[in-house]
Symmetry: C2
Subunit: 572 residues, 2 copies
Amino acid sequence: MSTANGNHDNDNGNRKKSLPQLGTDSPVAKLGAMEGLPASEKVYIEAGTGTDTVRVPMRRIHQTNGETFDVYDTSGPHGIDPNIGLPKLRKAWIDARMAPGIDTGNRSQMHYARRGMITPEMRFVAIRENVSPEFVRDEIARGRAILPANINHPETEPMIIGRNFLVKINANIGNSAIGSTIGEEVDKLRWSVKWGADTVMDLSTGKNIHETREWIVRNSPVPIGTVPIYQCLEKVGGDPDKLTIDLFIETLIEQAEQGVDYFTIHAGVRLAYIPLTANRTTGIVSRGGSIMAKWCLSHHQENFLYTHFERICEVMKKYDVAFSLGDGLRPGSIADANDRAQFAELETLGELTQIAWKHDIQVMIEGPGHVPMNKIKENVELQMDICKEAPFYTLGPLAIDIAPGYDHITSAIGAAMIGWFGTAMLCYVTPKEHLGLPNRDDVKTGVITYKIAAHAADLAKGHPGAQDRDNALSKARFEFRWQDQFNLALDPDTAKDFHDETLPAPAAKGAHFCSMCGPKFCSMKITQDVRDFVANEAAAAAAADANDVAAGLAAKASEFKQAGGTLYTTGD
Amino acid sequence: MSTANGNHDNDNGNRKKSLPQLGTDSPVAKLGAMEGLPASEKVYIEAGTGTDTVRVPMRRIHQTNGETFDVYDTSGPHGIDPNIGLPKLRKAWIDARMAPGIDTGNRSQMHYARRGMITPEMRFVAIRENVSPEFVRDEIARGRAILPANINHPETEPMIIGRNFLVKINANIGNSAIGSTIGEEVDKLRWSVKWGADTVMDLSTGKNIHETREWIVRNSPVPIGTVPIYQCLEKVGGDPDKLTIDLFIETLIEQAEQGVDYFTIHAGVRLAYIPLTANRTTGIVSRGGSIMAKWCLSHHQENFLYTHFERICEVMKKYDVAFSLGDGLRPGSIADANDRAQFAELETLGELTQIAWKHDIQVMIEGPGHVPMNKIKENVELQMDICKEAPFYTLGPLAIDIAPGYDHITSAIGAAMIGWFGTAMLCYVTPKEHLGLPNRDDVKTGVITYKIAAHAADLAKGHPGAQDRDNALSKARFEFRWQDQFNLALDPDTAKDFHDETLPAPAAKGAHFCSMCGPKFCSMKITQDVRDFVANEAAAAAAADANDVAAGLAAKASEFKQAGGTLYTTGD
C-alpha cells in the first residue's frame, strides 16, 4: 500500500512481500559472508537499559605488543547471509516512538531533538563520536547535523553528518543501462561498507531499480541515499517532459517505504537559472539537474520540485527521510567553477532549507564538482552563510580537469581541503569517473582514497582524538612492528602485499629495516641509537647551545663508543 | 682525473673512459627506444642564431577536430638508443663560455645572471615557460629560481625551478642493497621522464653506484640529483664514523665530473639540534640526516658539512652544481610536524643559503615530510622568510600517517597545497613509500600523481595559461570527442583502457554518451540541447528574472517542441 502515511507496520508488511527469493536462484546466492579485516575483533560498547539499550560496534585492532586500538566501525554484523539481510537493530526504538498517543506523524530526528528528546539513535551516535548525547541532540535541533534514519530502515547503525563530528564519506553504487547485476551491486555495497563508507547512494538507472534497492537496503548497516528522479524517468520511458509532481511523490513514497534514508532532490534548478549555463564550458553535468532543466524548458514552467516543495516535505517527515538538496548546476569543469549559475542555485537551496526546517526535516546541501584549490573556500563560506550551516556534502571537488583515470586523486585534493574548511560529508570519486562504471576494485580505491581525505580533514580541524591512530601507526612503524603498521592502516591488505613484493619472507615482517634502504642502511635504526644516546645525555644536551655543544659533549665521546654504537646490525 | 677544476675538456675525456660497454652484454641492451604518447608529434620552437640557437621541444597533441595543443615536454629526443646516450644539446654553449679569457672558473648560471648575461639556457627556459629571457635571468640572479645545469651534463634540456614558474616535480629512482639492476634503473629514468618528471634523483645505495649513475646521466634530458653522502658511506664500508670531509669532497668531484646537476647536502643537521629529536615519535627519518647525526654524536663534533661548507662551495661553482640543502630533521610523522628540530635546521639552511649565494651558487631548500594540512602554510612562510625565497623543494608532504600503500595520495594532498603556497618543486612519493622499492608501475603512478598536484598548484596560483589544457580537455569531454579527451589527459593510456573496460567497441569512442549513464540518459547530451535552445533565446532569457521568466518564455513553447527537443537519441 503506497500512501504518504509512512505507517511502520504497514511497511513491515511491504517489506515481507518484496523480500527477494532465497536459494540458488537468488541474485545474491553466490555472495558468502564478507571476510573481516586482519587482527581485528568486533567489540561492542553498551549503554542504557531496556529498549533504550544501545550496543555500539567498534573494530578492535590487536597489536603484537599487546596493545589494542579501537576504530569507528561501519561494517555491520559479521557473518550475515545477504539472503536474509541484517538484524533490525533499531526496530524496538522506532516502535516505541510510534506507539499510539505518542506518535505525532513527524518522525524525524530533528523533530524529536527540537522537542528536547534524546533518542537511542542520538545516544548511539554520541558513543561513536565520543561526545555527549546532549551535544548530538543540540546539533541536530540546530540543523547543523543530520542523523539519517528512515523508520523503515531499522537495520542502520546510527551515524551523524555535521561539521562538528568526524568527516564522513559516501560511496556511489548502482547499475546502469549498460550493465551490472543485483548481486554485483549488493557485493559493492558490502565491499564499500567494509572499507569504511559511512553512507551509500544507490544510483541505479537500469533494470530492476526497485528490487535492486530492496536488496541493498536490507543489507545495509549505513544510511542509503537515492536520486528518486532517476526512477521516475524510467517510469515514463525516459522522456523528462512526461514527469509530474504526482509521479514524483508516488516514487518518493515507494522508496521511503523501502527505507531510503536520504533523497537527492534537485529543487534548486529554477527556470531562470538555466540560461546562466548557456555559455559554460560544460553546461549542466548533473543528471538530475539536466533532467529538470529539460522539463523546465519544454514546459516553460518553474521546476515542479520547487513549486511543490511543501508536498515533498510532507512525505519526508513521515518517514524521517533527510533532504540532500542537489546541486543540479554544479560546475563540470574548472572553467565553470563558482559561476553565477552555481551560486544562484545555492541561494535557492538556502531558501528551501528554511522551508524544510520549518517542518523539522533534516537537510544537507550538495556541493561541487570541479573547483580549483583557490576557489574552494568560497564555496564553504557561502554555503554556511546561505544555508545557515546545514551540513555540506560535496563531490570532491576535483582540483583539475586533465587527469581522467586518476580523478579519485584529483578530487581527494579538493575533498581534503573542503572537509577541513567545514564540509561534513565527502562523496567519493572513483578512478573510473568520466570514463566508465566502477568495478569492485574501483569502489575500494574510491573509498580508501576518501577515507584519506576525510582523515586529513579531521586532523587539520584538530578533531579530538583524530591523531591517535596516526600516532599508533607511526609508533609501530618506528619500532619496526611491520604487522602492526599494516593492521593499523586504512587498507592492511595492500600495505602487506606491497611489503611482500620486495621482501616476501615472513621473517622480514620482523626485520629492523625496510627494503627502501636495506639492512646496512636504515635511518630509523640510526635514530633509535641516537635516541638511546640522547636519553642518557638529556640534561646536558638540552641545555647545550649550538655554539658550545661540541665542548659540552666532547667529554662523553669515549663513553659513547664504549657503549657500543654499532649501527648497522641487521635486525633479527 | 679527479680534480676540483671541473675542466670541461678533461671531463669529456672522463666520459669517454667511463662510457659503458655496448652490445648484448650492456646493462641496457634489452631497452629499445621508448614509445611516445598517442596522437603526439614532437615539434621544436627555434630562436636565436649561430651557437646561441635554441630549439625547444614541445609535444603537439593532434585533436580529431583539427585543432592542436602544445604541451611542455621533457621526454628527450625520440628513438635514442640508450647504449649511445642523448645528443649533447648544450655542448657548444658551454664550450663558448669556457673559452680561455672568458671563463672565470665560476660556471654557475647564477654567476652569469648576476653579471647580466642571458645564457642560451635562460633563453631556452624562457620559451618553455612563456616569459621573457630577462625575467628568467633576474629570477636566477635574485636566487628565487635555479637552472640546474652541470657543465658536464650537456644532454639536459634546460628547465627552471622557482615559484614564479610552473611547479616542477622530481622522481626518485636508484637501486638498493636489496635489488634492481642498472638496466631497470635506466628504464625507470626514461619511464619517469616520459610521464613528465622534471628532474630525477638517483638515490642508489647498492652495488655499481658510479656505473649506474653514468648510464643515467648520459640518458637523461632532465637534471639529475644525488645525495653524495650515500656513496661516501659505501666507500667506508657502511660505517658513518669513518666519513671525512676529504672523502666527501672527492666524491662530490667524482659525481660533478659525471654531470650530476644538484646535490642534496645535509649541512643543517647541527650537533646541537640532535637532542631536539629525542622525544619525537619517529626521530630522524632522513637517511642523510641520520648518517650525519650518527657522525656528530660519535665524534662529538659539529657536522663537517657545516664546518667545511665553503670548501664544498668551491666544487659546486666550478661545475655549476646546485645545492639542494637537505632537511635531515624533517618530520617522519604527523606528531613531529613543525617541531623545534625541524625549524632549527631551517634556520641553519637560511644561513647556508647566504654563504652559497656569496659564491653565486644556485640553491634550493628541501622541506617535509609528514605535515597535517593546517600546518603546511607555516612551512612555506618560514622557508621564504628564512631562506629569502630560495626555491623550496618538498617531499609531499603527507597529510596523514595511516595509509601505507596510498602515500602517493596522502602526499599529493599536501603537495598540491604546498605548491599553491609557493613551493617550486615537489618530490614524488610512490605507493610503495614506507613499504618497498618502487617498480615501474609505481614510478608511473608517482609521476602522474605529482603532475596532478603540480598542475593543481599552477591552477590555484593562476599561472598564466595553466588552465588552457583543462579547458581543451573539458571541451573535448563536453563534445564527446573521446579520443581527444584521452589524448589531452596526463595519462592517455589509462584513460583509454578504463573506457574500453566498460565500452570496448571502437565505435563507442564516437558515442554521444558515456557508460556511467548509458545511451538513454546522458546529462551532457541534455545540456547540449539546453544550450541550443538558450542560444536562440539568449536575449530574452538573459533579461528574464526568476519571477517572470515563466511568462517570458511561455510563448516559445511550441516553437521549441517543433524544433524537435528529442533528447535521448543514441549517438552514432
